[in-house]
């Protein structure tokens, strides 16, 4: 499913050399009001916001605390961003105007797919630390917004757990597309997390749709026979097939989240290896949305504190692996959006009902899909385990069970 799995900018450069990069971002000049609330899409459980360059409306980009700098798709910005190492005079995020924003422009394929953003336009790339590292940044998974600058949390969240952090890493690395060497500041927020009772080391990463684990750790946890599926992921190094399973518990300083989804694969290992080379100590994975989305997350870069405000309710959390056992792919047609079955999970009720790859889906529970986007349609396939959705395919209508694709034993 095209927007399920992103491990965006966790590590972007080849041959990273750690050299104790400064933790100070380029002190950007900005205009606006502190606490600017940017509306965001949270497709794939990462934050997509519109980034305008030099006053020209731009594409959606991912706000990624795992990325040290801005890696932007030159094609998506239609000439406003130059290829290679450079900068833009202004970048506007909501009401906040940033001046002289350093950028790395790539031609497209190396900005790691998805090539299409949730709004249907080209994917603009990712924004990292050198764009927002001077601000307190808040990520509101429930209300779908990113808050730039200090702002009070919503009224209906629980008191914060405050966790101090140090920024790690930084150094120099080779840019994609032979664009030279880039020196970048320390930007990595490394946390100790306990995975099913064992302490591990993680990178805090709002650009990760999953908790990402090293393969060896993933396999040791999966040895109990828990359910797994393979799924496509968009990594910094390109598309990859990953194995996905559910974790019983993930805890940071005693703050526990259950049933978080984790992924592993060869390219995930490479990504973590690069991160290890940069920070100079072992790292076991990336702490992404399955943990973070239970909280209103404030990363106060100037004060070096992470505040986790647990939401009073979890109704905003949609477990993407408790669903009808199909993935869809979008297509555009003159008559409206069209969605076809892209993948059928083995052993699911969907497979038993004979749904096949390539079949067109016309409606879900009586709701026509032609005016809906892929993110909305995908969410309509989710639900509580045991319920059914009525799928109208091009040739028939079937009731299909919602199942947990990643059951724990």
């Amino acid at each position: 499913m095209i927007f399920r799995s992103i491990l965006a900018g966790s590590v972007l450069l080849g041959a990273v050399e750690s050299c104790g990069g400064s933790s100070a971002p380029v002190p950007l000049v900005w205009l606006g009001k502190a606490g600017d609330h940017l509306p965001a899409s949270t497709a794939a459980s990462v934050f997509w916001v519109q980034a305008d360059v030099d006053g020209v409306p731009g594409p959606q980009v991912i706000v990624d605390t795992g990325a040290p700098f801005a890696l932007l798709n030159v094609r998506a910005f239609r000439g406003s961003v130059s290829a290679g190492k450079g900068r833009v005079a202004t970048m506007t995020l909501g009401n906040t105007v940033l001046w002289k924003v350093p950028t790395v422009g790539v031609e497209g394929d190396r900005t790691h797919p998805p090539e299409i953003a949730p709004n249907g336009d080209l994917f603009g790339g990712i924004l990292g630390y050198t764009v927002f590292g001077q601000f307190p940044m808040s990520f509101d998974y429930r209300d779908h917004q990113v808050v730039v600058g200090g702002a009070a949390p919503p009224a209906d969240v629980l008191p914060a757990f405050s966790i101090p952090f140090a920024l790690e890493g930084g150094g120099a690395g080779t840019l994609p597309e032979n664009a030279g060497v880039l020196t970048f500041p320390a930007s990595r927020i490394i946390l100790q997390a306990t995975i099913e009772g064992t302490p591990r080391t993680f990178l805090l990463d709002t650009g990760a749709s999953w908790v990402a684990l090293r393969t060896v750790l993933f396999q040791s946890l999966a040895a109990d026979g828990r359910g797994q599926v393979t799924d496509d992921a968009s990594l910094a190094t390109g598309n990859a097939t990953t194995n996905v399973m559910r974790l019983r518990s993930v805890a940071v300083q005693g703050i526990e989240v259950k049933d978080a989804v984790a992924a592993a694969g060869t390219k995930v290992d490479e990504l973590i290896d690069n991160l290890v080379a940069e920070v100079g100590h072992p790292v076991d994975g990336l702490l992404g949305a399955p943990f973070l989305r239970e909280f209103y997350v404030t990363i106060n870069y100037p004060n070096r504190t992470l505040d986790l405000y647990r939401y009073a309710s979890e109704t905003h959390i949609h477990d993407e692996y408790r669903r009808v056992g199909i993935d869809l792919a979008p297509d555009s047609a003159p008559t409206g959006n069209v969605f076809a079955v892209h993948h059928v999970y083995a052993g699911t009720d969907a497979q038993k009902k004979g749904i096949r790859v390539g079949e067109r889906l016309l409606s879900i529970d009586g709701a026509a899909l032609d005016t809906l986007d892929i993110v909305t349609v995908d969410e309509m396939l989710l639900g509580a385990v045991g319920m059914t959705h009525k799928l109208k395919l091009s040739t028939r209508t079937v009731d299909v069970l919602v199942e947990d694709l990643l059951p724990l034993p």
């Binding site: 002190p27 205009l31 006053g55 900068r87 005079a89 202004t90 105007v97 350093p102």
Partner: protein
């Protein structure tokens, strides 16, 4: 500064008139030429203006020319003529900065800037080097060297929102070359060129949440090449 010149100049003229009167009273049979102020020790004050062209970088990967198209300066000099050849003093320049369209783009509604420089300068007036002659009697070429400090500021606006950034650092050297016309009594006018070499070491950013001052992590050398005119009054 202009007011100061107006205040001082009449007094100087009075002194000059008294000394001329005394000279006439004590005059020997052969009339001696009146020494010009420029030929004796004394205070000098001057004004310059022109156009400064940007060279080099504010910081690594951030050229001065992409920030400023140029500077229109007002440059004030005050110093002392130790001898007809040697002058030393201080200078203060404030220039209107013309912000480059490379960095002043939408959604900014206005961008402005200025550049302030101040320091000390030493001039060697090399009139003796050009020999005697009718034309050289009124022409005073000179070379100068200065050093000081510089603060360049850019202000960005979007409607009522406004933020500033300033860059500051030492001016290592200001190399100057000029020539003055001396045929106006105590006033001299001329043209000059200066090449001031410096490096910004710190930046101060004033944004809606306050001001922060930080060292520039990757400083770079920059220069201003200035061409202009100047006037100086020798007391």
């Amino acid at each position: 500064m202009l007011r100061l010149l107006r205040t001082v100049a009449p007094g100087a003229l009075v002194l000059l008139a008294i000394s001329v009167a005394r000279a006439e009273a004590d005059a020997p049979a052969v009339e001696a030429p009146t020494p010009r102020a420029a030929d004796r020790p004394g205070v000098s004050m001057g004004l310059r203006s022109g156009w400064a062209f940007p060279i080099g970088s504010v910081a690594t990967d951030d050229s001065l020319g992409s920030n400023f198209d140029g500077i229109l300066p007002i440059w004030f000099d005050a110093g002392y003529r130790i001898s007809p050849e040697i002058y030393w003093g201080g200078y203060f320049q404030w220039g209107v900065g013309f912000i480059s369209s490379d960095v002043c783009v939408a959604p900014f509604t206005a961008c402005s800037g200025n550049d302030a420089r101040f320091g000390v300068t030493l001039q060697w007036h090399v009139k003796s080097a050009i020999g005697a002659g009718a034309w050289s009697a009124s022409f005073d070429p000179w070379v100068g060297f200065g050093t000081g400090y510089e603060i360049a500021t850019i202000t960005l606006e979007r409607g009522a929102d406004k933020s500033h950034v300033s860059y500051r650092g030492f001016e290592f050297a200001s190399l100057q070359l000029g020539g003055d016309y001396l045929g106006l009594g105590s006033m001299r006018i001329g043209g000059f060129a200066s090449f001031s070499l410096g490096e910004f070491a710190r930046t101060t950013v004033s944004v809606p949440t306050g001001s922060t001052s930080d060292p520039i992590s990757s400083p770079a050398v920059h220069a201003w090449l200035m061409l202009g005119v100047r006037g100086q009054y020798d007391f």
